[in-house]
């Protein structure tokens, strides 16, 4: 498994090692440790550009996921060659997240947001209420495993969406 982390923004001080530890644990909880994931910590400019290009919403946002496979919710890819081990890319809008969660534990908020992004890579969606419930349950499950491992108390991102 290869987890590549990039910090492409300058506005928010970040520590990469704790983020890596959390994401590795989340991938293990998803049963996806053998797959590769890229996580980019992005500023408003990059998030605005990507959001505009891929969702026609040229504004910063908290997370954008780019899955490498089309999967049913919770399904894992069946790779036939090395490059199919790549699950996809998750862009965390770090500047946006920090701005919308002042005074909160930034590392915790980033972890919860990244968990949401990882679930999107594995086919989870929240376009309907039932899809959201399924995704919420999965986020709750993997965050609970993380909480037990790290002594945190993290809750899913999309609580109260529907």
């Amino acid at each position: 498994m290869s987890l590549v982390i990039r910090n492409a923004q300058r506005s928010v001080p970040l520590r990469r090692a704790p983020l890596r530890r959390a994401l590795s644990a989340l991938l293990a909880a998803l049963g996806a440790s053998r797959f590769d994931v890229a996580l980019v910590c992005a500023g408003d400019g990059l998030m605005r550009r990507l959001n505009g290009a891929y969702r026609q919403r040229p504004e910063p946002t908290d997370v954008l996921s780019f899955p490498a496979h089309r999967l049913a919710a919770g399904e894992l890819p069946r790779p036939r060659c090395r490059h199919e081990y790549h699950l996809g890319d998750v862009f965390l809008g770090v500047e946006y997240i920090a701005r919308h969660a002042p005074g909160e534990d930034l590392e915790g908020v980033l972890t919860v947001t990244a968990a949401h992004g990882l679930c999107h890579l594995l086919g989870y969606q929240h376009n309907t209420k039932s899809e959201w419930q399924q995704m919420y349950q999965k986020e709750e499950e993997i965050l609970e495993k993380l909480n037990q491992l790290m002594g945190t108390n993290l809750r899913p991102l999309t609580a109260g969406l529907f």
């Binding site: 590549v4 910090n7 492409a8 990469r16 090692a17 990059l46």
Partner: protein
Amino acid sequence: MLLARALRAAAAALPAPRPLLAAALPPRAPRPGPVLPAPAPAPSRSLWQLGGGGGRAALLRPRRGSAGGVSCGCGGLHTEGDKAFAQFLADEIKEEKKIQKHKALPQVSGGWELEVHGTEAKLLRKVAGERITVTFNINNSIPPSVDEDTQEDQKPDEQEPDITSTPNFVVEVVKDDTKQTLVLDCHYPEDEVGHEGEEESDIFTIREVSFQPTGEADWKDTNYTLNTDSLDWALYDHLMDFLADRGVDNAFADELIELSTALEHQEYIKFLEDLKSFVKCQ
């Protein structure tokens, strides 16, 4: 191979001269003897004729076969090409000074002291019992310009992208109670920095890490040098966090670009002024 210059014992340097003050070098002192008159607008041949019969008291000493050049006693050749070159340089210097973004070198936030010695700059900081030094050289620090395809797409009225200096930089960390300096060689990604908008990669990367004896000017080749090309990602993240805890993070890397660009531009203007003085007889 880590940059040996990082450990060179450099004398504390004076700050680079401000380019808006008088020219960096004094005019070349004339040799004893006849003094040149003010340069005449006449073609070079007329200067030959003014020289007369070649007596020692002549104002000009014509030199036969020198392709239109004249000797004025300063020991240099003066051609029409030189004159045009000097004028070109004067215009160039004027234009460069107009577009100069920073007349003085910008500060780097976080309590860093700056020492400049020619093209080499050193930022120093003390954090608890540690001394952190960041050294870079502005020579060869401007990445290649955009490729031809991009230039063709550019509209005529669009401004050319700003020139930025993205030097490699070496971070040295010395703790008070150790005799070893941890040396980290850092680079900016080649293709991505300086473009408008944010790119998707790290602002800077650590390329090599080594321990070197503190205070020794000579680089120790026999000390192990860690290359990060195939390094475990988790270890790499710890190294980046180590630097970030000491003030060397993305924001710092950005400010270093501003400083390096300003220093490079300053040195470039100074070089043009020196070149003009050299070419043009004063």
